[in-house]
Amino acid sequence: MNTFEWVSPGTVAEAISALKSAPAASDLDDAARPIAGGQDLLTTMKDYITRPVRVVNLKGIRGLDKIEADGKGGLRIGALVTLAQLEEHAIVRRNFPGLSEAAHSVGTPQIRNLGTVGGNLCQRPRCWYFRLEEVVCLKKGGTECYAATGENKYHAIFGGGPSYIVHPSDLAPMLVALGASVSVVGAEGKRAIPLDKFFTLPSEGNLRRENVLKNDEIITEVQVPASKFAAHSTYLKFKERDSMDFAMSAVAAAVAIGPNKTIREARLVLGGVAPVPWRVTKAEGYLAGKTPSVDVLTHTAKIALEGAEPLAKNKYKVPLTQTLVRRALARVGGVRT
């Protein structure tokens, strides 16, 4: 880890100004960084992927560590809420089960005790080329994506190019499925960003970033609106090693149940397969109004994976993800498979 200045502000405004006033950095990844749980940031700093000249500790800011009802059946989740808190929160468990499952699926108990909601959404990629200190790939300002033709077993089958990372967050797909948005505060003020607009594809946004956050902006809160989906939501994560792993593939599913157990509307977002949470609207559309059955779910899964462009070593992700889609929908739709 490089040396850095440690700043512990007491308010959001102080934090922003500490980020803004930091000594000039020669590279994007040398710029000042906010730290919350630090469970990802510190690993990137130890590997010199991020080398901030200043680290701004957000944990001294009061009020960002609460989960509150928004009065309309939705939730306001402070960015500093830990994953353990989110997972165990009674209202989350009862009314937003998929969100509790997603939080539970993250890392290990130790990581969930410190890792925060805001931090989880801002994790850097797990691509093993990216994580090697010595490799300067596209995402680090280099000229090549080594994964494109290299060891890409864990990489994207959707939305890839020129970088083929998959987004590592488990909360993100579930929150996108639930229609959540984030409050972001920066030097230019506060903005609310729907989460599906928050993450950026390598081909669209800044290739060296995974979201729209500017260097002097921080997430302060996540809003999960009341929805007809939340009660029937689930997050199914497939890990190569159950004890500790990032998703090889994951599915966040949420459905609104209509009369006679039909599915009125569905939200289906894939994780571990694309550089952003990958919503499959065509599959959602197909499902709307249907009575879920094995055949319907199998067909939905097929549609969900249409257009997948596997790399040389990740073709398996197609059948794997189809299975997860089927199983996740079966769970929320009450189908026995």
Partner: protein, 754 residues
């Protein structure tokens, strides 16, 4: 004085008769058989295995309380006043020559005390050490290695074994001028008669041709390699080393420090795993010594986890091609094997086929070392055996399926040693083999269960390198001292137990002193040779101590003969009288007594048998393999400690499970770098991966001798798990590890061809 002794030899009784025996010696973790001479006299015996009071019981570890409370001090925990911290700078290229090395910027960082280069000028694998730095804190040392400016001339490399065979591939090592055609492929040995094999294959009822391969694996000792060199420029030094060989340290460390060997003491009180990778001072030790010598200050150099993956050694990969024949009645008729040892720039290791457990009829093999620009493999728990066993056991399974024979029966028919037969029966009973569906993939539903089995063998004999002292003091305290090391294998505990049992004491009444090169010599812990080397010497010392005590205290018992004085339950009896141990010891001379034990070949032996049965569940819609249950039946002569022996068997099964299902080095062909040098990406099995585990000590083995089983324990489970996967889902994955992607791809291509 020695000279005087030579010119005027003491009249001595006729020297004891000698006999020659062959024993294993361990050099860098690899067993080599050597002939030695030992006294041919009747010595002590262990007695029947079921007549012990401490041995062959369940003894908790004597160092347990220290280890569970953080009080055990490992090498990594040593911190000396003024000590410097060192870090290594590695070459990132798989093949490069050093062009320029500039340390001026690094040397200006406050707190940096020394910078040295390794002697290497050409680097043949990514991760080769280039330089090392010592500084006042670990953080500053790390800053400094990154501030070194190193320029390379990058040379062509090859890191994929199959590519290294191609005519145009780069040369990994300079060619041997005597064998100009051998580039990256070096023939190690050829055995058998190929024509006979061809003929036998022709007359076989069924033939299987198959190729198997295993990944490079990592030891992943939780305590990385390294040492603390306590040297401040005086005339002596102490080396705190994390090592499997206390006595492999002083010699080389002394050379680096410019001291006589006798001035250097090596010590290792507790160590965080070795598994074959920790012998000698290693390049990291060399660098630590040089930094300490240059600064005349104690230096601690522990490799980082990244260093550890790319420069501290690994298990040789393997690639094996078979053509095998079988008769309908299950007789294995012929085996043609081509074996490649994939040891990077090293020679690699692989047990020769046919794997020693089985009779295969006529056989022929060619074994090659196929080299790549990767760091050399080193010994790792049963070097070469799990690789060979996995391939042979998979092949046996394929043959059994081909002729429609039960895999257990097929194995029982072809084992060399009938002792395995009851082990197979026992294992089959414990796992519930009768529940197994003989049709691979035949169970209904997506979660399919399956079972597999396999067998293993190992030497585990000892040698004559251990010299043990047992001292009994007048206050009744007992110390057993020998320089050996405890790798977590329970050495401390059995050393104490042997002495305590002999003297009729409790295990707490004896204190062991180990892990110090100033104590009696001991062998390195490699090749499972520790128990069989150490325990006979300890027993010999203990028996001698008992007799010496008896002799001194004989007057208390009406001058009974020493052999007639008995020691049991903390008491000493003779001539109808019983007193406590303490009372008896009060009659010892002021200095107490010390007895010296030497190795007794009759107290040990070699050759163990083990079988493993595994049950797994494969989710054929995701490719996930869930281990359900594993059973391993293992013999080992006299079990010194049943509790720790079972733990060893568990540990072997778990490491084998890791090899079968998750572990493997991933390397990028173009960059030549390992992509998973971390515990995130190199996937060790964790708590959720564990099946129900049943370690069974095979008490049918009545041999009253000690044999090591540490390595035996890791061998059979790899094949057993692989075979269980096939039985469960019908996909034969011939390339380890068996990960979900391979199963799904296997199922997809099966469906396509159906």
């Amino acid at each position: 004085m020695p000279q005087q002794q030579q010119t005027q030899p003491q009249p001595s009784p006729t020297p004891p008769k000698k006999k020659k025996i062959r024993v294993p010696r361990v050099v860098n973790g690899v067993e080599q058989m050597v002939e030695i001479e030992v006294d041919d006299v009747a010595g002590p015996t262990w007695g029947p295995n079921d007549k012990h009071t401490l041995l062959n019981h369940r003894l908790t570890r004597v160092d347990g309380p220290l280890k569970v409370s953080g009080a055990a001090r490992y090498t990594y925990d040593v911190r000396l006043p003024g000590m410097l911290y060192a870090r290594v700078r590695r070459c990132p290229h798989a093949h490069a020559r050093l062009k320029n090395f500039d340390s001026s910027a690094a040397s200006k960082i406050p707190g940096v005390k020394a910078i040295i280069q390794t002697p290497l000028k050409e680097f043949r694998f990514a991760g080769s050490p280039v330089a090392a730095v010592a500084a006042i804190s670990p953080e500053i040392a790390h800053d400094a290695i990154r501030a070194l400016v190193v320029e390379y001339e990058v040379l062509p490399h090859v890191v994929i074994a199959r590519e290294a065979l191609k005519p145009g591939s780069p040369e990994v090592l300079p060619r041997d001028s005597r064998k100009p055609d051998e580039k990256n492929l070096r023939l190690a040995n050829k055995t058998g008669d190929v024509e006979k094999v061809e003929a036998a294959l022709k007359s076989s009822d069924a033939i299987v041709e198959a190729e198997y391969s295993t990944s490079r694996l990592h030891h992943c000792c939780l305590e990385t390699h390294g040492m603390v060199v306590d040297y401040s420029g005086g005339d002596s030094a102490t080396i705190y080393a994390t090592t499997q060989g206390t006595f492999t340290i002083p010699d080389d460390a002394a050379k680096e420090l410019g001291l006589p060997q006798s001035a250097v003491t090596a010590t290792v009180q507790h160590m965080g795993g070795g598994f074959g990778s920790k012998f000698g001072i290693g390049i990291e030790g060399m660098l630590a010594c040089r930094l300490s010598n240059e600064t005349k200050t104690p230096v601690k150099l522990m490799l980082t986890r990244y260093d550890e993956f790319v420069m501290a050694g690994n298990r040789s990969g393997s690639w094996q091609k078979f053509k095998a024949g079988v008769k309908k009645d299950g007789t294995f008729t012929a085996l043609h094997a081509t074996q490649y040892r994939l040891g990077g720039v090293g020679q690699g290791s692989q047990a020769g086929q046919p794997y020693a457990v089985y009779r295969v009829g006529d056989s022929y093999r060619e074994v090659y070392a196929l080299q790549t620009n990767e760091d050399s493999s080193v010994a790792m728990r049963a070097p070469g055996h799990p690789q060979a066993s996995f391939a042979m056991e998979s092949l046996l399974d394929e043959l059994a399926y081909k002729i429609g024979m039960d895999p257990v029966e097929f194995r029982k028919k072809n084992v060399r040693d009938d002792f395995y037969k009851h082990q197979f029966d026992r294992g089959a009973r414990e796992i519930g083999w009768e529940r197994r569906n003989p049709t691979a993939g035949g169970n209904p539903g997506p979660n399919k269960r399956g079972m597999g089995c396999a067998a293993g063998t190992w030497g585990g004999g000892g040698n004559d390198q251990c010299k043990v002292d047992v001292t009994v003091s007048r206050d009744g305290s007992v110390v057993v001292a020998v320089g050996t090391q405890d790798l977590g294998t329970g050495t401390r505990t059995f050393t104490r137990a042997i002495v305590a049992e002999e003297l009729g004491l409790g295990i707490k009444d004896v204190v062991e002193q180990i892990g110090n090169s100033k104590l009696g010599s001991a062998n390195s812990s490699g090749g499972s040779t520790t128990a069989a080397s150490l325990s006979p010497s300890v027993k010999d010392a203990a028996v001698k101590a008992r007799l010496a005590v008896a002799e001194k205290i004989a007057p208390l018992f009406g001058n009974a003969k020493p052999e007639q004085i008995t020691f049991a339950g903390g008491n000493v009896s003779g001539g109808g009288k019983t007193i406590t141990w303490k009372q008896a010891c009060a009659a010892l001379p002021a200095a107490g007594i010390t007895a010296h034990g030497v190795w007794r070949s009759e107290l040990q032996s070699r050759g163990v048998h083990g079988v493993c049965f595994a049950e797994v569940e494969v989710d054929v819609e995701t490719g996930k393999v869930r281990p359900i249950k594993m059973v391993q039946v293992q013999d080992g002569g006299l079990p010194l400690n049943r509790l720790t022996m079972e733990s060893q068997i568990n540990g072997g099964m778990i490491q084998a499970l890791g090899m079968a299902l998750w572990e493997g080095r991933t390397i990028d062909a173009d960059l030549g770098m390992q992509l998973n040098p971390s515990f995130v990406d190199y996937k060790l099995p964790g708590s959720l991966e564990m099946p129900e585990m049943i370690p069974i000590i095979d008490d049918e083995d009545k041999r009253e001798v000690v044999i090591g089983i540490a390595e035996a324990a890791i061998i059979p489970a790899v094949g057993a798990v692989a075979n269980a996967v096939f039985n469960a889902c019908g996909v034969r994955v011939r390339e380890l590890p068996i990960t979900p992607d391979k199963i799904l791809i296997g199922l997809m291509s099966e469906r396509r061809s159906a």
